[in-house]
């Protein structure tokens, strides 16, 4: 099915994503930053849906918004943020950082405006009915090895997290 009012939703979702992304880096309280990041993630999930990627949307909500960010909140709650709140928000080189990233963003934008010709404005939709199945098939055919390596990656993450966070090993 074609999305209803794609232009409106695109601008709405990207505005939400941008505003909350800016909030992520300007809020002093890490909990507020984390919440703003969650909002960014959810609006990105909406954008994925508009790009006919329902599976990615689902995984984005479950893994990113529901898993990773819970972990962040958890750690923020565990460590003492009251002390962190009293410290200054930005480091000393914040002006240099601001200029650097403005330049970077400007570069990216300039490139996209110059190179717009490569990417035509129209793109046809990919059928989303079978999206999950197709992504699944792809993972188990062409990307079988990366998939298996990803399992090792997660094993390393588990072992690593236990090694680093446990008070006393065995």
């Amino acid at each position: 099915m074609t999305p209803i009012a794609p232009t409106f939703f695109f601008y709405f979702l990207s505005a939400v994503a941008l505003i909350s992304a800016i909030l992520v880096i300007t809020r002093k309280n890490p909990v507020h930053s984390a919440l703003a990041l969650i909002v960014t993630l959810l609006s990105l999930a909406g954008l994925y849906l508009m790009l006919y990627a329902p599976f990615v949307t689902g995984v984005q909500v479950i893994v990113y918004a529901g898993g990773i960010m819970v972990l962040f909140l958890f750690v923020i709650m565990l460590v003492n943020i009251e002390r962190a709140m009293k410290e200054e928000e930005f480091n000393k080189q914040w002006i240099a950082g601001l200029i650097a990233s403005l330049l970077l963003g400007g570069l990216f934008l300039a490139v996209y405006f110059k190179g717009r010709a490569i990417f035509p404005s129209e793109f046809t939709k990919i059928p989303e009915q079978m999206n999950t199945q197709q992504v699944g098939m792809l993972i188990f055919q062409n990307y079988l090895l990366p998939f298996e390596i990803a399992s090792l990656l997660l094993l390393v993450a588990i072992v690593g997290a236990v090694v680093m966070a446990k008070k006393k090993l065995s």
Partner: protein
């Protein structure tokens, strides 16, 4: 919909992934065996891990034999597996051996060290094995997905290994810095990959290269391609710690357990190089006219910053960290050699030889530093090595050998690495670069000799004897032999390096995939 199993996982796939499968099995084995071992037997984990490395090496050898048989049948010498995402060509096999050797020596160095630090846990060895799997993916991946996942597997294991001494503030601080900058650079790298994917519509290196070639003929100054190149290259240069993306390296090297510092400076760095070469030579070769000036700038900056910063260091690990940055500068010059359209094969061969000899000589130097770690003495300051000649003459002399080799004095191994780099520069007419590089090599001699001076000319600060565990003895023997033998009889090794590059280049591999 349902397809038979053998289409997903063929016997070739099995053969090509066997080295990784072995390591994964032994890594998980170590984790499980660790649970059953009483604390005083924990060092048995190291032997399990070593056996795993040996089995993996045997599997690599099987791949090599299969390659030889294929060659005898007149087929091009590279295997493609997993639907084109893995290419176990000679380039990859060469790096496989390098990684395995680096990991084995690092494990030998770690056994006693971890006991002194009271952190003898099986997880350490398992993580080393897992990181080798990641490296293998980086060397043999022919698909940006596999390369990225492999890179992260290696990086993640290394972050934990760097912070493995959890009670040591320096160690976990180093892990934090390394992780933040590593994750940051991965982000940039992934952004570059996404742009290449956008240009080509495929994740396969060969496909991307073909598209880039055509695309680039049509519009040679395409901004999107240049941006993609810049971001990807930034990520890669971060990984090999080239200036100006090197700030993480000295901190991570200083804080990490000494054996892991050695491991990072050889195996992890070699993996970074494997990835970089894979991407620059197999995917980005159409963009060479654009990246050439960038690499020249970076290599000069790296040589300058690395060598100058190394002059003033008082900490051995930090000094060697800066010196390893400087070595990256030399290797980058090997990538510069050649004309605008083609990298010179001597230059690439120089990089391969350099990585090989660097593995032995640098790990050797770190093995000596590891032996300085005793109870209550951290042993990584220059003052700690003072008077080593009078306490442990063998070690002092070995250290001298490693340092001379690092400085590139013939007839030691380090000479051959620099020789081929310089040769390739001269062959391709980069005389100015060659001159600068030679001058910096002289500068390098100075700070290596500062260490030697401390060892031979100064009195020892403490009377505490230097301990040498059997593992460390073995590690020292291997690295010393490697350094000397490669230096005196280089033919075999040079042939191996040439062999590793004898694969048909990217376009042919792309042809194989069709």
């Amino acid at each position: 919909m349902a397809m038979p199993l053998h289409q997903f996982f063929t016997s070739t796939d099995y053969l090509l992934s066997l080295p990784m499968i072995m390591l994964a099995l032994f890594g998980m084995g170590v984790l499980i065996i660790d649970l059953l071992l009483p604390p005083e037997w924990k060092r048995a984990n190291a032997w399990t891990a070593l056996v795993g490395l040996v089995f993996s090496a045997i599997a690599v050898y099987k791949v090599q034999i299969a390659d030889r048989i294929a060659e005898a049948h007149g087929q091009a010498g590279s295997f493609v597996g997993f639907g084109g995402s893995l290419v176990a060509d000679r380039f990859a096999i060469y790096f496989y051996y390098l990684f395995l050797a680096g990991a084995a020596i690092a494990i030998l160095m770690s056994v006693k060290y971890l006991e002194i630090e009271r952190e003898q846990h099986g997880e350490f060895y398992a993580l080393v094995l897992f990181s080798v799997i990641g490296m293998m993916c980086m060397a043999s991946g022919y698909d940006i997905v596999l390369l990225f996942v492999g890179l992260e597997l290696m990086a993640l294991s290394t972050y934990v290994l760097v912070g493995f001494l959890r009670r040591d503030q320096r160690s976990n601080e180093a892990a934090l810095k390394y992780l933040l900058l590593g994750a940051f650079s991965s982000g940039i790298f992934a952004y570059g990959l996404s742009l290449f994917y956008g240009l080509a519509g495929s994740t396969n290196l060969g496909q991307i290269a073909l598209t880039l070639e055509q695309h680039f003929l049509a519009n040679p100054k395409d901004p999107v391609a240049i941006l993609a190149l810049l971001t990807t290259a930034t990520g890669l240069l971060f990984k090999i710690a080239a200036v100006p993306f090197h700030q993480w390296a000295p901190d991570a090297y200083e804080g990490a357990p000494t054996s892991i510092t050695g491991y990072m400076s050889v195996a992890v760095k070699a993996a970074g190089w494997a990835l970089l070469l894979r991407i620059f030579l197999y995917m980005l070769y159409p963009l060479r006219p654009i990246y050439l000036p960038m690499i020249i700038f970076v290599s000069l900056a790296t040589l300058t910053a690395g060598n100058l910063a190394a002059l003033t260091q008082s900490n051995l690990k930090r000094l060697l960290a800066y010196s390893s940055i400087a070595h990256v500068g030399y290797m980058l010059l090997g990538l510069v050699a050649g004309n605008t359209n083609n990298a010179s094969s001597t230059g690439i061969k120089g990089i391969m030889v350099y990585l090989l000899v660097y593995t032995f000589m640098n790990l050797g130097a770190f093995a000596v530093i590891t032996s300085l770690r005793r109870r209550d003495i951290i042993g990584d300051e220059i003052d700690d090595i003072a008077g080593l000649m009078f306490k442990a003459p063998t070690e002092a002399i070995l250290m001298l050998v490693f340092l001379l080799s690092l400085a590139g004095i013939p007839p030691l191994a380090g000479f051959w690495g620099k020789y081929f780099i310089f040769l390739s520069l001269i062959e391709s007419g980069h005389y100015a670069l060659a001159t600068v590089a030679v001058l910096y090599a002289v500068l390098g001699l100075y700070y290596y000799m500062r260490i030697a001076n401390a060892m031979f000319m100064r009195r020892a600060e403490t009377a505490e004897p230097v301990s040498l565990s059997p593992g460390l003895r073995l590690a020292l023997a291997i690295t010393a032999l490697g350094t000397v033998i490669i230096g005196i009889f280089p033919e075999v090794f040079l042939r191996a390096a040439a062999w590793s590059l004898s694969v048909p280049q990217a376009s042919a591999v792309a042809g194989l995939l069709k």
